[in-house]
Point group: D2
Chain length 278, copies 4
């Protein structure tokens, strides 16, 4: 028996050559900040070690997980938002959800992502973290891309850092949610800028991705409409972007594998930014 010659695989060679992995997913903990519109994250162990010990001395512990699918770092499937009763592509939302799952635009239809990723670091442009309720403008986005030398290209995953992520671990979880203060992010104009560049997905370091005015909550979500409904661009929320910003990692291989929850409107994810060697 002979060992057959394996064909070259540049990707595998690059992986084996060494790569720096940045974790863009938030740790999931009970009590973490999340929108009250979604079921709270909870985890419990039905079985602990010692509860049932086998004859050979072995024992297992396990968990019961309860959560909304738009809690922690997560991706919005296209089924998540409708406008005037229509989903992306024009499907009737009421009809599409019959049966309690979205056969067509559910999160199980979101293909795993292995793509070029670009971080647009807005605080680096502004000279400070985006203030509460600040609307990130197309100019801000363009300036970041230009200064970083990372033009946005079709098919990219673009991550927009507002700096708001520094509040995620605040002892008062309402600070990150920011209902009263407002939260920074893009508005309709910024969303159109992204759509015009035909990005595949867009992410942010906030719960709702887009600019929330003080005290307004989710009364108006134009970026969701533009990106999810009009253009079929996925949204990724509650991302951890501090570390890649600190290391000035503006271009990278973006990796994300949504759970194939059949028919669901979103999924918790743990996205990665991977930097290979030259």
């Amino acid at each position: 028996m002979t060992i057959t010659a394996r064909p070259a695989d540049r990707l595998l060679d690059a992986v084996r050559g060494g790569a720096q992995i940045y974790d863009l997913g938030r740790l999931l903990t009970i009590g973490m900040p999340q929108s009250p519109n979604h079921p709270a994250y909870w985890l419990s162990m039905p079985r602990r070690h010692g509860d049932m010990v086998r004859a050979d001395g072995g024992s297992a512990a396990n968990d019961l997980l309860v959560m909304g699918t738009h809690v922690g770092t997560h991706v919005d499937a296209l089924a998540h938002v409708s406008q005037d009763g229509r989903l992306h592509g024009g499907a009737d939302a009421a009809q599409a959800q019959t049966g309690g799952r979205f056969t067509e635009l559910g999160v199980h239809t979101v293909a795993p992502m292995l793509r070029r990723g670009v971080l647009l670091d807005i605080p680096a442009v502004l000279g400070e973290p985006c203030p509460a309720g600040y609307e990130i403008t197309p100019d801000d986005l363009a300036t970041a891309a230009t200064r970083q030398g990372t033009p946005v290209e079709p098919g990219d995953v673009v991550l927009i850092r507002s700096g708001w992520g520094r509040h995620f671990d605040h002892e008062d979880r309402r600070v990150y949610v920011g209902h009263d203060s407002g939260v920074p992010g893009v508005g309709e104009a910024g969303a159109r800028w992204l759509a015009a560049r035909q990005v595949h997905a867009a992410g942010a370091d906030t719960i709702a991705f887009e600019c929330l005015r003080p005290g307004q909550g989710h009364t108006s979500l134009p970026a969701h409409r533009v990106l999810l409904v009009e253009h079929g661009i996925y949204l990724i929320e509650t991302m951890a972007l501090e570390e890649i910003a600190r290391d000035a990692v503006h271009e990278f291989t973006f990796v994300m594998t949504p759970l194939p929850l059949y028919g669901a409107t979103g999924s918790p994810v743990r996205p990665l930014a991977v930097v290979g060697r030259g």
Copy 2:
């Protein structure tokens, strides 16, 4: 403002050069086969489109997710199994689980995986799918690696295909669980073979990874002991391996990002096998 020259990134270049992605995760559906030892998978929409329509015509749907963490395609953290009251590394299991979460060996400590992966296709060796209750031997494993030309190396993720995965979609979900029939997989000897090769993680197309004798259920799980407890090697279960076997993809870039469920014993995952171009 000038565009700075970006340094070369072989990984990103390879990704942009095109890659074939194989999805190794099972679709998560209500009623799918799972072990009765773990909480059943359930998904429900608290809010559907039309329930609350904003003034601007926008509406959102969302989900409530309930499941065990060892349900569907999933990874076992080292905290999952103990032997004689000890976890991997010797920690006292009872103490480690105080507080209802594993600070040290919980699934949040499982780093995202971007590594060489090897499929060991045992039915290709045997000339037929492994029979129910069949124990895959070290010889089977070694023969597969040799015939395929894919020697197992330290740090690899090794996926062992028994062929049992063809039962996953059987209309009688008990067939795949296989309590009465038994389920094929490695035993203690096969586990030692893997451990000797210092693999990083090992996966299979069955719920329990290892050989289950007919009617015995989980009364004895020696491979869990050898791999998780003695050697700190992660296990991945309920994988979809039919497609890569069909395409004879025996070596690939393995990608897996467990959810960082703080303190949990496992996580649902959607692993990928990625094949780059030459």
Copy 3:
């Protein structure tokens, strides 16, 4: 300060005079028989004693409960079933459920029950437990009432014992569910007999209350239609009726307090049959 004379309360006097309480609710355990149409019952302790001990030596344990509302012994609210798109009283079902809860006919509108209860013991009429799939006839019901000397009166809660409850603790939970075998119960004719007597609620010792034909499952549920939709009569399912039958308790005070789960279609309950002294 003087003790004011308390007015007589015949009810309280009777309670204090002693009463025999029969528990008609099934123990809720993980793995108990239930319909696969409803989320499985699961219970887990997020916190156990010793997880967090206060400075004074006190410690608490608590639970996370997950279940369908039509699991274990439970009551069906009128919102549970619709016919041709209409709920009891003619409300449009699609409209009534907007928002994900039933404001009008949800289980929170089911008043606590403290009423005359009547057990109709059909096996006592037939001379044996009702066979699988047996349809209990109006004659069976009338004969039981007559022989027992317990005529059914308007406002009563009528409990129909088929004898099927003896399977509840069978080691194979599918026996009680009875999909293949069929399950005994009333059909449309029996339901009309109950409705004609203007009962307030009707219960049974089976999951689905009514007669299920072998292998048919829930393809046709005429008694639900007649009782819930046409007549606004509540249904109580999966009851434990063996003990009152054994003691020949055919008339009693029926007590039931559904949980006021706002907008839900049902609630787990623990109904009682109480027998006072003469």
Copy 4:
């Protein structure tokens, strides 16, 4: 066939004679006030009318319920609290909870209650609702009982109204929880007063039953220790007592049927105060 003469049943006669039922359970709604120590209440409809319509035009809706067992109006089982590692009766708490359920002191061992109930209306004594953090004294309790003419007797269920229940529906759910403000209730002395009277259970219109000092949360819960651990007296929390106070109903038949959640530390309940006619 003759109708046998039925023996007299004073209880049933009293029930049929008419009784006023007061509902002491809070409506269970998403977002209601609850302790953050317990899993949040959530309800969702997996199936709505129209999702699956049978050939005959029938359709059903159902629910998925997720909650802690100490959420909403609920009863504490004796297993809920331990002191110095011991449960009521001296059992070792760590051992008793092995297996993830309390075989001995779980809530399934709490018998349904049909007993004399007494409301002690403390605001009626004080002339105003108890202030935040106020400790209800034995004198307050004794004065209420005397003024009302309702002495507390062994076996009674005693409900202590502080007036705090008026905050339950406050738009800011933190007001009722009262972490910063403190919450009124009995302290160790009041608990000993109840224990000395050998009551069967004690309830209150607050989440934690007992006096919480401002900003202290649950750092010290002496009444739980005295009543649950030392004396085996059940606690009922988050009760709705405004209506019986308004109607000056101080003595009544108390009805409560905890769900027999096998091995759990508590259960949601819907207790009743029933007043019969003279």
